[in-house]
Subunit: 198 residues, 2 copies
DNA sequence: TAGTTAATCATAACACTGTTATGTCAGTCA
DNA sequence: TGACTGACATAACAGTGTTATGATTAACTA
């Protein structure tokens, strides 16, 4: 019953990792999975359904990469560790990452379930980001800071995917991102520092 | 001679602004331009050629948006003005922006001419970014800072395009980006400040 | 047990995509 | 005049996602 489903999903995931979205045609998936094209439609909601699964798969990777809350290092280093994990996942699962941010297949828009996964990951990011903020910080402000960090990190990843990346010296993008983020996080910390009581 | 060329290009640009990449099929362009599909291939290098023109068009918009060097305001404000222009262009020409950053049509990769335009724009960004750095700063360091700013701004724009944008309060994304960038630029300035002579 | 119902699968087709082979026609140049 | 080059049109090819049609199988029900 769910045997064919897993076979299809495995075939899709493999093709996706190998050749990205361009290698992910319905016929290619069904061929590798050893089923007919109609199988994609009886077990999933067509190609949209397949992409949804991969979208969720990608966010799960990101989610687990940020799983570093239970260390007792300085908060600054904890966050940088989370960013490092994010960058690693983005590099290792580039096709998934591109899909998540619309660089994979124009015309795909995530379903409700896929969006729920994205929301879950963002909440985790908010939790991590909150570590550098005073406890009584409002939720909106916490989200603002989390968005700030996310935008910065994602900006590096996305620029790296851009064709212009060849123009820039082949230095490690990840270390560039990490040092820039370190600077910015320090700026956030000092800005939100509890003022000394008079 | 170049009459048909302009007609085709105009039709393509209109379709692109109206419906993005999904509305930009070779047949749709030729139909609106009143020519045969083969016209796209005799006047351009197929769809790739059309996308190249739009890619360059997009970078030209970005380029001119950063055209604020000749003001004599504080450098910090000059840069923020450039960023404001960048954000405005990104919002107004979303389809172009998505195309530039691979969110438009997977499988498209810019030609040499298109990349040259991108390089030109990046150099301008480096020039602007250099305003907050000491004059004797090395080129590599200037590029590093420019990349930093670009990544941050682009990160906001790209996240705004992401489906998760609905999760976040509908506050103006641009003002969020501007305030975050202001914080970061201040951090850069203080970090690169010429140390007081002992 | 017999009959109905639902899900799975295969074949083939439809409408769409970018691209191109073929052929026509007009203009240019030697 | 004759040869050639470029623009144009028609139609086709190979690919895409999707679905209508029909066959087979499994499960549940009367």
């Amino acid at each position: 019953m769910s045997d064919a489903r897993n076979t299809i999903l495995k075939a899709a995931s493999e093709l996706f990792l190998e050749g990205g979205t361009s290698a992910l045609s319905v016929r290619a998936i069904s061929k590798r999975a050893g089923v007919s094209t109609i199988g994609i439609y009886s077990h999933f909601k067509g190609k949209q359904g397949i992409l949804d699964e991969l979208y969720i798969e990608g966010f799960e990777k990101v989610f687990s990469a940020m799983d570093i809350l239970d260390t007792n290092a300085p908060v600054r280093d904890v966050i940088l560790l989370g960013i490092k994990g994010y960058l690693a996942v983005a590099g290792q699962y580039e096709a998934h990452y591109r899909l998540i941010f619309g660089e994979g297949d124009a015309g795909y828009s995530p379903s409700k379930e896929a969006l729920a996964m994205a929301e879950k990951a963002f909440k985790k990011l908010v939790d991590i980001s909150s570590l550098i903020l005073p406890e009584d910080t409002k939720v909106a402000e916490k989200q603002r800071i989390a968005l700030e960090i996310w935008a910065f990190v994602h900006g590096y990843v996305s620029l790296k995917h851009h064709a212009i990346s060849t123009l820039i010296s082949p230095v490690e993008w990840n270390s560039l991102a990490l040092s820039a983020l370190a600077t910015h996080i320090d700026a956030i910390i000092t800005k939100h520092a509890v003022p000394m009581p008079k």
